[in-house]
Amino acid sequence: MTSKCENSEARLRRPRPLEERVVSHVLGACAVLCVATTAGIIAVLLTQSVAFFKGVSLWQFLCDTQWTPLFTDKHFGIWALVCGTLLTSVIALAVAVPLGLLGAVYLSEYASQTVRHFLKPAVEVLAGIPTVIYGYFALTFITPILQKIVPGLAGFNALGSGVVMGIMILPIIASLSEDAIHAVPSSLREGAYALGGGKFAAIRRVVLPTSFSGIAAAVIIGMSRAVGETMIVAIAAGQQPRFTLDPRVPIETMTAYIVQVSMGDTPTGTLEYHTIFAVGMMLFIVTMTLNIASYYLRKRMTRGAAT
Protein backbone atom coordinates (compact mmCIF):
# COMPACT_ATOMS: atom_id res chain seq x y z
CA MET A 1 0.00 0.00 0.00
CA THR A 2 2.65 2.53 1.07
CA SER A 3 4.79 1.89 -1.94
CA LYS A 4 1.79 2.42 -4.13
CA CYS A 5 1.06 5.79 -2.47
CA GLU A 6 4.64 6.97 -2.93
CA ASN A 7 4.47 5.83 -6.46
CA SER A 8 1.37 7.89 -7.22
CA GLU A 9 2.87 10.92 -5.44
CA ALA A 10 5.96 10.67 -7.57
CA ARG A 11 3.77 10.44 -10.63
CA LEU A 12 1.75 13.45 -9.63
CA ARG A 13 4.87 15.52 -8.99
CA ARG A 14 6.57 14.66 -12.24
CA PRO A 15 7.21 17.97 -14.05
CA ARG A 16 5.53 18.82 -17.31
CA PRO A 17 7.67 17.81 -20.27
CA LEU A 18 9.94 20.51 -21.64
CA GLU A 19 8.18 20.79 -24.97
CA GLU A 20 4.88 21.58 -23.26
CA ARG A 21 6.45 24.48 -21.42
CA VAL A 22 8.39 25.80 -24.38
CA VAL A 23 5.68 25.50 -26.97
CA SER A 24 3.33 28.10 -25.50
CA HIS A 25 6.16 30.65 -25.32
CA VAL A 26 7.20 30.02 -28.92
CA LEU A 27 3.66 30.30 -30.19
CA GLY A 28 3.08 33.41 -28.09
CA ALA A 29 6.23 34.99 -29.55
CA CYS A 30 4.94 34.35 -33.06
CA ALA A 31 1.64 36.02 -32.24
CA VAL A 32 3.43 39.02 -30.71
CA LEU A 33 5.63 39.31 -33.80
CA CYS A 34 2.57 39.64 -36.04
CA VAL A 35 1.05 42.35 -33.90
CA ALA A 36 4.42 44.10 -33.50
CA THR A 37 4.91 44.18 -37.27
CA THR A 38 1.53 45.82 -37.74
CA ALA A 39 2.30 48.29 -34.97
CA GLY A 40 5.67 49.04 -36.59
CA ILE A 41 4.06 49.71 -39.95
CA ILE A 42 1.51 52.03 -38.40
CA ALA A 43 4.27 53.83 -36.48
CA VAL A 44 6.34 54.40 -39.64
CA LEU A 45 3.30 55.58 -41.58
CA LEU A 46 2.36 57.95 -38.77
CA THR A 47 5.78 59.53 -38.22
CA GLN A 48 6.46 59.97 -41.93
CA SER A 49 2.95 61.35 -42.50
CA VAL A 50 3.51 63.85 -39.73
CA ALA A 51 6.65 64.98 -41.56
CA PHE A 52 4.53 65.39 -44.69
CA PHE A 53 1.85 67.41 -42.96
CA LYS A 54 4.51 69.77 -41.62
CA GLY A 55 5.07 70.89 -45.21
CA VAL A 56 1.49 70.58 -46.51
CA SER A 57 -1.61 71.60 -44.65
CA LEU A 58 -4.38 69.06 -44.07
CA TRP A 59 -6.70 71.58 -45.73
CA GLN A 60 -4.72 71.50 -48.94
CA PHE A 61 -4.48 67.71 -48.76
CA LEU A 62 -8.24 67.26 -48.49
CA CYS A 63 -9.54 70.21 -50.54
CA ASP A 64 -7.29 70.54 -53.57
CA THR A 65 -8.39 68.66 -56.67
CA GLN A 66 -4.97 68.25 -58.24
CA TRP A 67 -2.13 65.94 -57.28
CA THR A 68 1.15 67.11 -58.76
CA PRO A 69 3.86 66.78 -56.08
CA LEU A 70 6.52 65.87 -58.65
CA PHE A 71 5.95 68.95 -60.79
CA THR A 72 7.23 72.45 -60.23
CA ASP A 73 3.66 73.69 -59.65
CA LYS A 74 2.96 71.45 -56.67
CA HIS A 75 -0.56 70.47 -55.67
CA PHE A 76 -1.42 67.95 -52.99
CA GLY A 77 -5.11 67.15 -53.46
CA ILE A 78 -5.44 63.52 -52.41
CA TRP A 79 -8.90 63.24 -53.99
CA ALA A 80 -7.33 62.97 -57.44
CA LEU A 81 -5.76 59.70 -56.34
CA VAL A 82 -8.76 58.61 -54.26
CA CYS A 83 -10.93 59.14 -57.33
CA GLY A 84 -8.73 56.82 -59.37
CA THR A 85 -8.83 54.16 -56.68
CA LEU A 86 -12.57 54.52 -56.21
CA LEU A 87 -13.24 54.37 -59.94
CA THR A 88 -11.23 51.21 -60.60
CA SER A 89 -12.59 49.53 -57.45
CA VAL A 90 -16.20 50.31 -58.30
CA ILE A 91 -15.73 48.97 -61.84
CA ALA A 92 -14.11 45.86 -60.37
CA LEU A 93 -17.05 45.36 -58.00
CA ALA A 94 -19.55 45.94 -60.80
CA VAL A 95 -17.92 43.02 -62.60
CA ALA A 96 -17.20 40.74 -59.65
CA VAL A 97 -20.29 41.10 -57.44
CA PRO A 98 -22.96 39.95 -59.92
CA LEU A 99 -20.76 37.24 -61.42
CA GLY A 100 -19.41 36.10 -58.06
CA LEU A 101 -22.77 36.04 -56.37
CA LEU A 102 -24.57 34.23 -59.18
CA GLY A 103 -21.68 31.79 -59.39
CA ALA A 104 -21.85 31.20 -55.65
CA VAL A 105 -25.61 30.57 -55.80
CA TYR A 106 -25.11 28.15 -58.67
CA LEU A 107 -22.26 26.30 -56.99
CA SER A 108 -24.02 26.05 -53.66
CA GLU A 109 -27.63 25.44 -54.67
CA TYR A 110 -27.82 24.12 -58.21
CA ALA A 111 -24.55 22.42 -59.20
CA SER A 112 -24.39 18.65 -58.89
CA GLN A 113 -21.64 17.18 -56.75
CA THR A 114 -19.47 16.39 -59.78
CA VAL A 115 -19.83 19.85 -61.33
CA ARG A 116 -19.08 21.46 -58.00
CA HIS A 117 -16.09 19.18 -57.58
CA PHE A 118 -14.51 20.53 -60.77
CA LEU A 119 -15.80 24.08 -60.79
CA LYS A 120 -14.82 25.23 -57.33
CA PRO A 121 -11.08 24.51 -57.69
CA ALA A 122 -11.23 25.99 -61.20
CA VAL A 123 -12.59 29.27 -59.84
CA GLU A 124 -9.93 29.27 -57.15
CA VAL A 125 -7.18 28.93 -59.78
CA LEU A 126 -8.02 32.52 -60.76
CA ALA A 127 -6.88 33.57 -57.30
CA GLY A 128 -3.47 32.01 -57.90
CA ILE A 129 -2.58 34.03 -61.00
CA PRO A 130 0.10 36.67 -60.23
CA THR A 131 -1.38 40.15 -60.53
CA VAL A 132 1.39 41.31 -62.87
CA ILE A 133 -0.02 38.86 -65.42
CA TYR A 134 -3.47 40.36 -64.89
CA GLY A 135 -1.90 43.76 -65.52
CA TYR A 136 -0.56 42.80 -68.92
CA PHE A 137 -3.79 40.97 -69.65
CA ALA A 138 -5.60 44.26 -69.06
CA LEU A 139 -3.20 46.30 -71.13
CA THR A 140 -2.69 44.02 -74.11
CA PHE A 141 -5.90 42.00 -74.31
CA ILE A 142 -8.90 43.57 -72.55
CA THR A 143 -8.22 47.22 -73.42
CA PRO A 144 -7.86 46.59 -77.20
CA ILE A 145 -11.15 44.66 -77.13
CA LEU A 146 -12.87 47.38 -75.12
CA GLN A 147 -11.51 50.03 -77.51
CA LYS A 148 -13.62 48.47 -80.26
CA ILE A 149 -16.77 48.85 -78.14
CA VAL A 150 -16.16 52.00 -76.10
CA PRO A 151 -15.41 55.11 -78.18
CA GLY A 152 -12.62 57.34 -76.98
CA LEU A 153 -11.02 54.75 -74.74
CA ALA A 154 -7.38 55.58 -74.14
CA GLY A 155 -4.62 52.97 -74.18
CA PHE A 156 -4.21 53.38 -70.45
CA ASN A 157 -7.57 53.66 -68.71
CA ALA A 158 -9.60 52.88 -65.61
CA LEU A 159 -12.14 50.70 -67.41
CA GLY A 160 -9.82 47.96 -68.65
CA SER A 161 -7.89 47.72 -65.41
CA GLY A 162 -11.13 47.83 -63.40
CA VAL A 163 -12.64 44.98 -65.41
CA VAL A 164 -9.53 42.84 -64.99
CA MET A 165 -9.37 43.69 -61.30
CA GLY A 166 -12.95 42.45 -61.12
CA ILE A 167 -11.81 39.14 -62.59
CA MET A 168 -9.04 39.08 -60.01
CA ILE A 169 -11.36 39.53 -57.03
CA LEU A 170 -14.05 37.27 -58.49
CA PRO A 171 -12.78 34.09 -56.79
CA ILE A 172 -12.63 35.79 -53.38
CA ILE A 173 -16.20 37.05 -53.64
CA ALA A 174 -17.52 33.81 -55.13
CA SER A 175 -15.75 31.61 -52.64
CA LEU A 176 -16.66 33.60 -49.52
CA SER A 177 -20.27 34.09 -50.68
CA GLU A 178 -20.50 30.38 -51.38
CA ASP A 179 -19.34 29.67 -47.83
CA ALA A 180 -22.00 32.06 -46.49
CA ILE A 181 -24.77 30.50 -48.60
CA HIS A 182 -23.63 27.00 -47.73
CA ALA A 183 -23.77 27.90 -44.03
CA VAL A 184 -27.54 28.53 -44.19
CA PRO A 185 -29.06 25.53 -42.39
CA SER A 186 -30.98 23.17 -44.65
CA SER A 187 -33.87 23.30 -42.19
CA LEU A 188 -34.60 26.83 -43.42
CA ARG A 189 -34.64 25.69 -47.04
CA GLU A 190 -36.97 22.85 -46.12
CA GLY A 191 -39.14 25.31 -44.21
CA ALA A 192 -39.42 27.41 -47.35
CA TYR A 193 -40.23 24.40 -49.54
CA ALA A 194 -42.86 23.25 -47.05
CA LEU A 195 -44.56 26.63 -47.43
CA GLY A 196 -44.98 26.09 -51.15
CA GLY A 197 -41.85 27.97 -52.14
CA GLY A 198 -40.11 26.94 -55.35
CA LYS A 199 -36.35 26.52 -55.41
CA PHE A 200 -35.59 30.01 -56.65
CA ALA A 201 -38.20 31.60 -54.37
CA ALA A 202 -36.58 29.84 -51.41
CA ILE A 203 -33.16 31.12 -52.43
CA ARG A 204 -34.38 34.66 -53.00
CA ARG A 205 -36.64 35.03 -49.98
CA VAL A 206 -34.89 32.88 -47.40
CA VAL A 207 -31.37 31.70 -48.30
CA LEU A 208 -29.93 34.98 -49.60
CA PRO A 209 -31.42 37.21 -46.88
CA THR A 210 -30.17 34.79 -44.22
CA SER A 211 -26.66 34.80 -45.65
CA PHE A 212 -26.72 38.55 -46.34
CA SER A 213 -24.12 39.56 -43.77
CA GLY A 214 -21.74 36.88 -45.01
CA ILE A 215 -22.19 37.99 -48.60
CA ALA A 216 -21.72 41.63 -47.61
CA ALA A 217 -18.52 40.64 -45.81
CA ALA A 218 -17.33 38.87 -48.97
CA VAL A 219 -18.03 41.96 -51.08
CA ILE A 220 -16.19 44.20 -48.64
CA ILE A 221 -13.16 41.89 -48.56
CA GLY A 222 -13.23 41.96 -52.36
CA MET A 223 -13.41 45.74 -52.33
CA SER A 224 -10.56 45.93 -49.87
CA ARG A 225 -8.44 43.80 -52.24
CA ALA A 226 -9.40 46.03 -55.16
CA VAL A 227 -8.48 49.20 -53.27
CA GLY A 228 -5.12 47.74 -52.30
CA GLU A 229 -4.38 46.17 -55.68
CA THR A 230 -1.26 47.68 -57.21
CA MET A 231 0.22 45.84 -60.14
CA ILE A 232 -2.81 45.88 -62.46
CA VAL A 233 -3.42 49.60 -62.10
CA ALA A 234 0.28 50.47 -62.20
CA ILE A 235 0.57 48.69 -65.54
CA ALA A 236 -2.73 49.38 -67.25
CA ALA A 237 -4.39 52.46 -65.76
CA GLY A 238 -1.83 55.10 -66.65
CA GLN A 239 -0.01 57.46 -64.29
CA GLN A 240 -2.02 60.63 -64.50
CA PRO A 241 -3.74 61.63 -61.28
CA ARG A 242 -7.04 63.09 -62.37
CA PHE A 243 -10.08 64.26 -60.46
CA THR A 244 -12.58 62.51 -62.69
CA LEU A 245 -15.03 59.64 -62.80
CA ASP A 246 -14.60 59.10 -66.54
CA PRO A 247 -13.46 55.49 -66.93
CA ARG A 248 -12.04 56.02 -70.43
CA VAL A 249 -9.07 58.25 -69.62
CA PRO A 250 -5.75 57.47 -67.91
CA ILE A 251 -5.90 57.91 -64.13
CA GLU A 252 -3.69 57.06 -61.20
CA THR A 253 -4.63 55.22 -58.04
CA MET A 254 -3.09 55.67 -54.62
CA THR A 255 -1.22 52.39 -54.94
CA ALA A 256 0.10 53.17 -58.41
CA TYR A 257 1.38 56.55 -57.18
CA ILE A 258 3.32 54.88 -54.38
CA VAL A 259 4.92 52.53 -56.91
CA GLN A 260 5.75 55.43 -59.20
CA VAL A 261 7.56 57.37 -56.46
CA SER A 262 9.23 54.34 -54.90
CA MET A 263 10.70 53.27 -58.22
CA GLY A 264 11.66 56.75 -59.38
CA ASP A 265 14.66 58.81 -58.31
CA THR A 266 12.95 60.83 -55.59
CA PRO A 267 15.56 61.51 -52.87
CA THR A 268 14.65 60.27 -49.37
CA GLY A 269 13.63 62.82 -46.78
CA THR A 270 12.18 65.30 -49.26
CA LEU A 271 8.55 66.38 -49.29
CA GLU A 272 7.98 64.38 -52.49
CA TYR A 273 9.29 61.34 -50.66
CA HIS A 274 7.01 61.94 -47.69
CA THR A 275 3.95 62.10 -49.92
CA ILE A 276 3.97 58.31 -50.36
CA PHE A 277 3.59 57.86 -46.63
CA ALA A 278 0.65 60.22 -46.48
CA VAL A 279 -0.93 58.36 -49.40
CA GLY A 280 -0.06 55.04 -47.75
CA MET A 281 -1.70 56.24 -44.54
CA MET A 282 -4.85 57.15 -46.46
CA LEU A 283 -4.85 53.76 -48.18
CA PHE A 284 -4.31 51.97 -44.91
CA ILE A 285 -7.20 53.81 -43.28
CA VAL A 286 -9.54 52.84 -46.14
CA THR A 287 -8.58 49.16 -46.23
CA MET A 288 -8.57 48.85 -42.46
CA THR A 289 -12.06 50.35 -42.24
CA LEU A 290 -13.26 47.89 -44.88
CA ASN A 291 -11.65 44.93 -43.13
CA ILE A 292 -13.13 45.88 -39.77
CA ALA A 293 -16.58 46.24 -41.34
CA SER A 294 -16.19 42.84 -42.95
CA TYR A 295 -15.06 41.30 -39.66
CA TYR A 296 -18.17 42.52 -37.84
CA LEU A 297 -20.44 41.38 -40.63
CA ARG A 298 -18.93 37.90 -40.57
CA LYS A 299 -19.29 37.79 -36.81
CA ARG A 300 -22.97 38.61 -37.28
CA MET A 301 -23.20 35.84 -39.87
CA THR A 302 -21.86 33.15 -37.52
CA ARG A 303 -24.21 34.35 -34.80
CA GLY A 304 -27.14 34.24 -37.22
CA ALA A 305 -26.26 30.72 -38.34
CA ALA A 306 -26.11 29.49 -34.75
CA THR A 307 -29.75 30.25 -34.02
Binding site: Q113, P185, S187, L188, R189, E190, G191, A192, Y193, A194, L195, G196, G197, G198, A201, A202, R205, V206, P209, T210, F212, G304, T307
Partner: protein, 283 residues
Protein backbone atom coordinates in the same frame (compact mmCIF):
# COMPACT_ATOMS: atom_id res chain seq x y z
CA UNK B 1 -55.84 25.06 -55.04
CA UNK B 2 -59.31 23.87 -55.94
CA UNK B 3 -58.54 24.43 -59.58
CA UNK B 4 -55.83 21.84 -59.37
CA UNK B 5 -58.16 19.27 -57.87
CA UNK B 6 -60.91 19.84 -60.42
CA UNK B 7 -58.48 19.80 -63.30
CA UNK B 8 -56.80 16.61 -62.25
CA UNK B 9 -59.78 14.59 -61.05
CA UNK B 10 -60.86 13.31 -64.49
CA UNK B 11 -57.35 11.99 -65.11
CA UNK B 12 -57.62 9.68 -62.14
CA UNK B 13 -56.58 6.20 -63.15
CA UNK B 14 -59.50 3.82 -62.76
CA UNK B 15 -57.10 1.06 -61.89
CA UNK B 16 -56.75 2.52 -58.42
CA UNK B 17 -60.34 1.69 -57.48
CA UNK B 18 -59.99 -2.04 -56.79
CA UNK B 19 -56.76 -1.42 -54.91
CA UNK B 20 -58.54 1.11 -52.77
CA UNK B 21 -61.31 -1.32 -51.94
CA UNK B 22 -58.78 -3.96 -51.06
CA UNK B 23 -57.12 -1.60 -48.64
CA UNK B 24 -60.34 -0.55 -47.02
CA UNK B 25 -61.21 -4.16 -46.31
CA UNK B 26 -57.81 -4.65 -44.78
CA UNK B 27 -58.33 -1.74 -42.43
CA UNK B 28 -60.63 -2.04 -39.44
CA UNK B 29 -64.15 -0.75 -40.01
CA UNK B 30 -63.87 2.23 -37.64
CA UNK B 31 -61.42 4.02 -39.96
CA UNK B 32 -63.34 6.71 -41.79
CA UNK B 33 -64.90 5.74 -45.10
CA UNK B 34 -64.07 9.09 -46.70
CA UNK B 35 -60.31 9.25 -46.48
CA UNK B 36 -58.58 12.56 -47.11
CA UNK B 37 -55.36 10.89 -48.04
CA UNK B 38 -54.71 7.37 -49.12
CA UNK B 39 -51.32 5.78 -49.31
CA UNK B 40 -50.97 2.75 -51.53
CA UNK B 41 -47.89 0.54 -51.48
CA UNK B 42 -45.48 3.36 -50.71
CA UNK B 43 -41.78 2.58 -50.90
CA UNK B 44 -39.01 5.05 -50.11
CA UNK B 45 -35.25 4.93 -50.40
CA UNK B 46 -32.23 6.85 -49.24
CA UNK B 47 -29.66 5.88 -51.85
CA UNK B 48 -29.84 2.09 -51.88
CA UNK B 49 -31.39 1.71 -48.43
CA UNK B 50 -35.09 1.03 -48.52
CA UNK B 51 -36.60 2.81 -45.54
CA UNK B 52 -40.29 2.30 -46.38
CA UNK B 53 -41.21 -1.17 -47.55
CA UNK B 54 -44.67 -0.85 -48.96
CA UNK B 55 -46.93 1.20 -46.70
CA UNK B 56 -50.67 1.30 -47.35
CA UNK B 57 -52.98 3.25 -45.11
CA UNK B 58 -55.74 5.82 -45.33
CA UNK B 59 -55.92 9.06 -43.41
CA UNK B 60 -59.39 10.25 -42.52
CA UNK B 61 -60.64 13.74 -43.16
CA UNK B 62 -60.47 15.89 -40.00
CA UNK B 63 -59.02 14.61 -36.78
CA UNK B 64 -55.53 13.50 -35.99
CA UNK B 65 -53.50 10.47 -36.89
CA UNK B 66 -50.48 9.73 -34.73
CA UNK B 67 -47.56 7.72 -36.05
CA UNK B 68 -45.38 5.98 -33.52
CA UNK B 69 -42.51 3.57 -33.73
CA UNK B 70 -38.88 3.08 -32.73
CA UNK B 71 -36.14 5.31 -34.16
CA UNK B 72 -35.32 4.52 -37.76
CA UNK B 73 -38.67 2.88 -38.45
CA UNK B 74 -39.38 5.30 -41.28
CA UNK B 75 -42.13 7.32 -39.62
CA UNK B 76 -40.58 10.69 -40.48
CA UNK B 77 -39.80 9.53 -44.02
CA UNK B 78 -43.42 8.44 -44.31
CA UNK B 79 -44.91 11.84 -43.63
CA UNK B 80 -42.23 13.53 -45.71
CA UNK B 81 -43.49 11.41 -48.61
CA UNK B 82 -47.01 12.76 -48.08
CA UNK B 83 -46.03 16.26 -49.24
CA UNK B 84 -43.10 15.13 -51.38
CA UNK B 85 -40.53 16.65 -49.06
CA UNK B 86 -38.67 13.33 -49.04
CA UNK B 87 -37.37 13.81 -52.56
CA UNK B 88 -35.82 17.18 -51.65
CA UNK B 89 -32.94 15.34 -49.99
CA UNK B 90 -30.16 14.34 -52.37
CA UNK B 91 -30.33 10.64 -53.22
CA UNK B 92 -33.81 10.16 -51.77
CA UNK B 93 -36.53 8.52 -53.85
CA UNK B 94 -40.10 7.37 -53.35
CA UNK B 95 -42.37 5.04 -55.27
CA UNK B 96 -46.03 4.23 -54.83
CA UNK B 97 -49.28 6.13 -54.71
CA UNK B 98 -50.29 8.88 -52.34
CA UNK B 99 -53.81 10.08 -53.08
CA UNK B 100 -54.97 13.46 -51.83
CA UNK B 101 -58.73 13.66 -52.30
CA UNK B 102 -58.41 10.95 -54.91
CA UNK B 103 -55.54 12.44 -56.92
CA UNK B 104 -52.16 10.73 -56.89
CA UNK B 105 -49.69 13.39 -55.83
CA UNK B 106 -46.89 11.43 -57.50
CA UNK B 107 -48.62 11.35 -60.89
CA UNK B 108 -46.92 13.34 -63.63
CA UNK B 109 -48.13 16.91 -63.90
CA UNK B 110 -48.53 17.42 -60.18
CA UNK B 111 -46.35 20.31 -59.06
CA UNK B 112 -44.78 19.37 -55.71
CA UNK B 113 -44.58 23.06 -54.82
CA UNK B 114 -48.38 23.44 -55.10
CA UNK B 115 -48.85 20.20 -53.19
CA UNK B 116 -46.80 21.49 -50.27
CA UNK B 117 -49.00 24.55 -50.13
CA UNK B 118 -52.00 22.23 -49.60
CA UNK B 119 -50.22 19.81 -47.32
CA UNK B 120 -48.41 21.94 -44.77
CA UNK B 121 -45.57 20.76 -42.58
CA UNK B 122 -44.15 21.57 -39.17
CA UNK B 123 -40.65 20.31 -38.44
CA UNK B 124 -38.91 18.75 -35.50
CA UNK B 125 -36.77 21.78 -34.78
CA UNK B 126 -38.58 25.14 -34.93
CA UNK B 127 -37.25 26.88 -38.05
CA UNK B 128 -38.60 30.44 -38.25
CA UNK B 129 -36.72 32.46 -40.86
CA UNK B 130 -34.09 34.47 -38.96
CA UNK B 131 -34.09 37.55 -41.19
CA UNK B 132 -37.88 37.96 -40.98
CA UNK B 133 -40.04 39.50 -38.29
CA UNK B 134 -42.81 37.55 -36.60
CA UNK B 135 -45.33 39.08 -38.96
CA UNK B 136 -43.17 38.39 -42.02
CA UNK B 137 -42.72 34.80 -40.87
CA UNK B 138 -46.48 34.32 -40.75
CA UNK B 139 -46.78 35.76 -44.26
CA UNK B 140 -43.68 33.95 -45.57
CA UNK B 141 -45.72 31.36 -47.46
CA UNK B 142 -47.62 34.06 -49.32
CA UNK B 143 -44.40 35.94 -50.08
CA UNK B 144 -42.72 32.78 -51.34
CA UNK B 145 -45.60 32.24 -53.73
CA UNK B 146 -45.96 35.92 -54.66
CA UNK B 147 -49.56 35.93 -53.44
CA UNK B 148 -50.82 39.41 -52.62
CA UNK B 149 -53.63 39.82 -50.11
CA UNK B 150 -55.30 42.97 -48.95
CA UNK B 151 -56.30 41.46 -45.60
CA UNK B 152 -52.80 40.59 -44.41
CA UNK B 153 -53.35 42.10 -40.98
CA UNK B 154 -56.50 40.10 -40.35
CA UNK B 155 -54.81 36.95 -41.64
CA UNK B 156 -51.84 37.43 -39.32
CA UNK B 157 -54.11 37.94 -36.35
CA UNK B 158 -56.39 35.02 -37.22
CA UNK B 159 -53.66 32.42 -37.67
CA UNK B 160 -51.67 33.64 -34.68
CA UNK B 161 -54.86 33.28 -32.62
CA UNK B 162 -55.38 29.80 -34.06
CA UNK B 163 -51.82 28.94 -33.08
CA UNK B 164 -52.46 30.31 -29.55
CA UNK B 165 -49.65 32.81 -29.96
CA UNK B 166 -51.48 36.10 -30.60
CA UNK B 167 -51.66 37.32 -27.01
CA UNK B 168 -47.95 36.78 -26.51
CA UNK B 169 -46.77 38.50 -29.69
CA UNK B 170 -49.44 41.03 -30.66
CA UNK B 171 -47.28 43.95 -29.48
CA UNK B 172 -43.99 42.69 -30.89
CA UNK B 173 -44.98 41.63 -34.41
CA UNK B 174 -42.04 43.49 -35.93
CA UNK B 175 -39.51 41.72 -33.73
CA UNK B 176 -37.37 38.96 -35.26
CA UNK B 177 -38.94 35.51 -35.41
CA UNK B 178 -35.91 33.91 -33.78
CA UNK B 179 -36.11 36.15 -30.71
CA UNK B 180 -39.01 34.06 -29.41
CA UNK B 181 -38.62 31.07 -27.10
CA UNK B 182 -38.45 27.58 -28.59
CA UNK B 183 -42.10 26.80 -27.89
CA UNK B 184 -43.23 30.16 -29.26
CA UNK B 185 -41.08 29.61 -32.35
CA UNK B 186 -42.77 26.28 -32.94
CA UNK B 187 -46.22 27.84 -32.60
CA UNK B 188 -45.07 30.55 -35.02
CA UNK B 189 -44.14 27.79 -37.46
CA UNK B 190 -47.59 26.28 -37.02
CA UNK B 191 -49.18 29.68 -37.65
CA UNK B 192 -46.99 30.07 -40.72
CA UNK B 193 -48.27 26.75 -42.08
CA UNK B 194 -51.90 27.61 -41.22
CA UNK B 195 -51.66 30.92 -43.09
CA UNK B 196 -51.74 28.94 -46.34
CA UNK B 197 -55.02 27.30 -45.31
CA UNK B 198 -53.67 23.79 -45.87
CA UNK B 199 -55.89 20.76 -46.42
CA UNK B 200 -53.62 18.60 -44.31
CA UNK B 201 -51.07 19.53 -41.65
CA UNK B 202 -48.10 17.22 -41.17
CA UNK B 203 -46.13 17.45 -37.94
CA UNK B 204 -42.77 15.75 -37.66
CA UNK B 205 -42.07 15.32 -33.92
CA UNK B 206 -43.10 18.94 -33.30
CA UNK B 207 -42.35 18.78 -29.58
CA UNK B 208 -39.10 16.84 -29.43
CA UNK B 209 -37.02 20.03 -29.11
CA UNK B 210 -39.34 21.59 -26.51
CA UNK B 211 -39.67 21.51 -22.73
CA UNK B 212 -42.74 19.90 -21.08
CA UNK B 213 -44.66 23.17 -20.67
CA UNK B 214 -44.17 24.20 -24.28
CA UNK B 215 -45.04 20.64 -25.29
CA UNK B 216 -48.29 20.86 -23.33
CA UNK B 217 -49.26 24.04 -25.15
CA UNK B 218 -48.55 22.53 -28.56
CA UNK B 219 -50.61 19.46 -27.63
CA UNK B 220 -53.54 21.64 -26.56
CA UNK B 221 -53.20 23.41 -29.87
CA UNK B 222 -53.27 20.13 -31.81
CA UNK B 223 -56.43 19.10 -29.94
CA UNK B 224 -58.07 22.37 -31.00
CA UNK B 225 -56.86 22.30 -34.59
CA UNK B 226 -57.89 18.72 -35.28
CA UNK B 227 -61.55 19.64 -35.39
CA UNK B 228 -60.87 21.83 -38.42
CA UNK B 229 -57.80 20.26 -40.01
CA UNK B 230 -56.54 16.84 -40.95
CA UNK B 231 -53.44 16.37 -38.85
CA UNK B 232 -50.77 13.70 -39.13
CA UNK B 233 -48.29 13.78 -36.29
CA UNK B 234 -45.15 11.73 -35.93
CA UNK B 235 -44.02 11.27 -32.37
CA UNK B 236 -41.58 9.10 -30.47
CA UNK B 237 -43.52 9.86 -27.32
CA UNK B 238 -46.26 7.29 -26.80
CA UNK B 239 -48.05 9.34 -24.16
CA UNK B 240 -48.26 12.13 -26.68
CA UNK B 241 -49.77 9.82 -29.27
CA UNK B 242 -52.29 8.65 -26.68
CA UNK B 243 -53.15 12.25 -25.75
CA UNK B 244 -53.53 13.82 -29.17
CA UNK B 245 -54.13 11.03 -31.67
CA UNK B 246 -57.61 9.92 -32.70
CA UNK B 247 -55.99 7.06 -34.54
CA UNK B 248 -52.54 5.64 -34.13
CA UNK B 249 -50.32 3.80 -36.56
CA UNK B 250 -47.41 1.73 -35.35
CA UNK B 251 -44.43 1.53 -37.71
CA UNK B 252 -41.49 -0.82 -37.37
CA UNK B 253 -38.54 -1.31 -39.74
CA UNK B 254 -40.24 0.47 -42.60
CA UNK B 255 -43.50 -1.39 -42.32
CA UNK B 256 -46.92 -0.52 -40.97
CA UNK B 257 -47.50 -3.05 -38.22
CA UNK B 258 -50.84 -1.92 -36.89
CA UNK B 259 -53.24 0.96 -37.45
CA UNK B 260 -56.32 1.48 -35.38
CA UNK B 261 -58.17 3.72 -32.93
CA UNK B 262 -55.72 5.09 -30.43
CA UNK B 263 -57.58 3.46 -27.55
CA UNK B 264 -57.39 0.07 -29.21
CA UNK B 265 -53.69 0.41 -30.02
CA UNK B 266 -52.85 1.24 -26.44
CA UNK B 267 -55.23 -1.09 -24.61
CA UNK B 268 -55.79 -4.17 -26.71
CA UNK B 269 -53.48 -4.18 -29.72
CA UNK B 270 -53.95 -7.08 -32.10
CA UNK B 271 -50.28 -7.46 -32.88
CA UNK B 272 -47.72 -8.79 -30.47
CA UNK B 273 -45.02 -6.34 -31.68
CA UNK B 274 -47.35 -3.40 -31.08
CA UNK B 275 -48.14 -4.66 -27.61
CA UNK B 276 -44.45 -5.02 -26.77
CA UNK B 277 -43.76 -1.50 -28.00
CA UNK B 278 -46.63 0.32 -26.31
CA UNK B 279 -46.01 -1.46 -23.03
CA UNK B 280 -42.35 -0.50 -23.19
CA UNK B 281 -40.92 -3.98 -23.52
CA UNK B 282 -39.16 -3.06 -26.75
CA UNK B 283 -38.04 -0.02 -28.69
Amino acid sequence: MNALKVKKMPNLPDASRPVTRMIETRQPAQISKTPRMQVIDLHAWFGKTEVLKGISMSIASRGSTAIIGPSGCGKSTFIRCLNRMHEVVRGARADGKVLLDGLDVYSPGVNPVRLREMVGMVFQKPNPFPMMSIRQNVLAGLKLQRIKRSDEDELVERVLRQAALWDEVKDILSRGGTTLSGGQQQRLCIARALALEPEVLLMDEPCSALDPIATGRIEELILELKSAYTIVIVTHNMQQAARVGDRTAFFCLGQLIEYNDTATIFTKPLNRQTEDYVTGRFG
